[in-house]
């Protein structure tokens, strides 16, 4: 579903992502973790067809992101970090607009279901600029899920969400994966995504340090206990020390 082969992305002379290869198949949830500036957002944006890669190839559901961007984008949804909404549209109009962009003909039932799931039903006719940060995040999530994408890219999606919102989001992500979608989620909240993701990619300075399931990574890092938390794995991988000192 998601394939990146030798992806390199450079901004002028700075290399943000360096020779990265990864595959996420349907049903998998890949946790993208790394320190600030590791290249997480750049990777997600390149996969979403926003930043063209400097070299390498990217495929979404079998479609080349560079050569056939429309077909690739039709299969994916991206939830950016701190999403901005259209100030002139209401919550419902955002869903109506998304349905039109992705050609979802009979969207009303699913849209109402999503609004209910994310506790936005009573905000249906509220203009976007009257919503709180967390509610804006929820609207972006509902829009992303509306067309039932085969690929979900989430960049720090928990920021601003309340505990109930986070649980609903995780349930929705798991449901998407169970339905066959490939999911990539970047986050600094390691404790939160530890049990959500089926595998992890640890990035540092644009390079892939480790990719694989938790068991595979633990096996590759001999200093760790077999039941090490994701936080311990992260510090061992990035700083060579499992303790967060």
């Amino acid at each position: 579903m998601i394939e990146a082969e030798r992806l390199t992305k450079a901004y002028d002379k700075r290399i943000a992502v360096d020779d990265l290869s990864l595959t996420v198949t349907g049903g998998e949830i890949l946790g993208l973790v790394g320190p600030n500036g590791a290249g997480k957002t750049t990777t997600l944006r390149a996969l979403a067809g926003i930043h063209p890669p400097t070299s390498g190839s990217l495929r979404i559901a079998g479609c080349d992101v560079v050569k056939d961007p429309i077909a690739a984008k039709a299969q994916l949804a991206m939830i950016p970090d701190d999403p901005s909404l259209f100030t002139n549209l209401t919550v419902w109009e955002h869903l109506e607009f998304t349905a039109q962009v992705y050609g979802v003909s009979d969207f009303a039932g699913r849209a109402e279901g999503l609004l209910e799931e994310f506790e936005l039903l009573d905000r249906r006719d509220t203009l976007a600029d009257e919503l709180s940060r967390g509610m804006r995040q929820k609207v972006a999530v509902t829009c992303a899920l509306l067309h039932e994408p085969k690929v979900l890219l989430l960049d720090e999606p928990m920021t601003g969400l309340d505990p109930r919102g986070i649980r609903t989001l995780f349930d929705a992500v798991r449901a998407s994966a169970v339905g066959g979608a490939a999911v990539m989620i970047s986050s600094h909240l390691l404790g939160q995504i530890d049990h959500l993701c089926t595998k992890f990619l640890i990035l540092s300075e644009g390079k892939s340090l480790f990719v694989g399931s938790r068991a595979e990574i633990v096996k590759a890092l001999p200093g760790l206990r077999s039941d090490a938390s994701l936080e311990e794995i992260f510090f061992e991988a990035t700083e060579g020390s499992a303790s967060a000192s």
Partner: protein, 538 residues
Amino acid sequence: MNAGLQYLLLKQPRGWWRRLTRRVRGTKGVLAILAAVVVGGFLVASQVLLAGEGSAAPVAGVRLWGPPGLMLMAVLGASSGTGLYFKPAEIDFLFPAPIGRRELLLYHVVGGVYTLFFSAVWMTVFTFRFAPQWYGGFAGVFFGFGFLQLTTQLVSLALSTISVGVARRARRLTLFSLVVLLVAGLLVTRANLPESNLSDTVSALVASPLVVVLSSPARVFVELFTSETPASFAMWLGGAVGILAVLFVLLAVVDVAYTEAAVRVSREVQDRLKRMQAGGAGGSGTARVATSLPGFAWLGGAGPIMWQKCTDARRGWKRLLWNSVFLVGFALFFVAMVGRDQNEAGTAFGGHAGWVVVFMMMLMNQNFRLDFRSDLDRMAYLKSLPLRPGMVALGQTLPTAVLFTLIQLVAVLVIQFVAGVETVWLPVLLLVLFPLNWLAAALDNVLFLWMPYRIAPKESGQMQFMGRMMVVLFTKSMIVLVACGFTALVGWAAWAISGAALIVGLASALVLGVMGAVVTRLAGRLFATFDSTKDVPA
């Protein structure tokens, strides 16, 4: 075009109207609309009266200066960016969506027509008296703006294909070349017309064949603006539409990957807006300062607030200095010219010193917001401090008043020195400067706290923002005018009783100072009742 993009374009005016009507609710909204109607009516009436008096510039003048002026604006506009600007919501929703680059570009151009239309209507209010026919005037402005917009977008699109560093160097080189060409042109023209003054030299340069040829694309829009008959209007309209069509086709043909540059430009614009919101274009700089300011006296809590504002001002000192130097230099130039030509140095001093004071107090203050206007996102924090609201208001308003007074003092003394005049009224002017600036700063804060706003250029709130600024300026001007009128009466009475300029200055300063204190107190009250939990619209 993608159905979603069509939906957005259709919803845009409706959403704009909905936001506008939402704000009309309540007393404040109604009063704001009334104020806008009064100010708008005043502006339109003044232009109609001017047109009636036949004070319009001759069409020949518009035809001479218009094309190079418009062309210059096109070059400056085109060299101002390094990529297309999209709103953050457009980037978040449209860039990852299955929408083609050309479709998105078409949406971008068509979406700009709304703003273009309202901008053209607004500009026509001020320019129609220069046009023989109102419809030609409007069409000239509308299509001229379209020309500026499309050339800017075309160049931005082209710049998206090269690296940021190269794009920025190209922009600097273009601006440098433009300045060199202008200076060289002036020198050559001057050499050919040794007896001419500066104004004649510039006119001759503008009328030279080279400038006429270079500005010929813009000439079509100026001819449309000045068309005198329906036939000539139709002809030039065809030309204008043709030029815009060519630019539009070029935009569609140039199929480059612009999204990455657009994301960068959008982020830069948003960062700039945040900086402006935090202290104005020049009020809050990022310059490094070697040492921190010594702590101010407590002053009932106003001291620490003043210290923070002064530290902010210190980091933006370069912009403040250049703005002040430019302003004083401009005034000096006119003082020198008027003084030499008309031998009216005294009048020139009075006029231009006053101009510097008024400009700084009324307009420059809008750009250097060292007060509550830069603390909108910190209101909850300010309210949590164990300080009396009146003292917070004092701390917010005094730094601007002191800073502007110091600059004005230097400016007035320099202008007085250059003008070479001796006047008994100089002490009066110097004495009233501080209380006058204090009153103006306090008024700015009262108006802001009463109806706060966020800066949102390039968003749908841009026109409302501009309208609001005009209303604020008008209201402030009226209040300052009334305050000055009352102060003048007191000053006159003091002169009649004492016959001493110093007494007049002291009495006037006292009256203005009391007014400043009262308005600052009012700002404190408004701060105390300010509801920071309410979302503040753009």
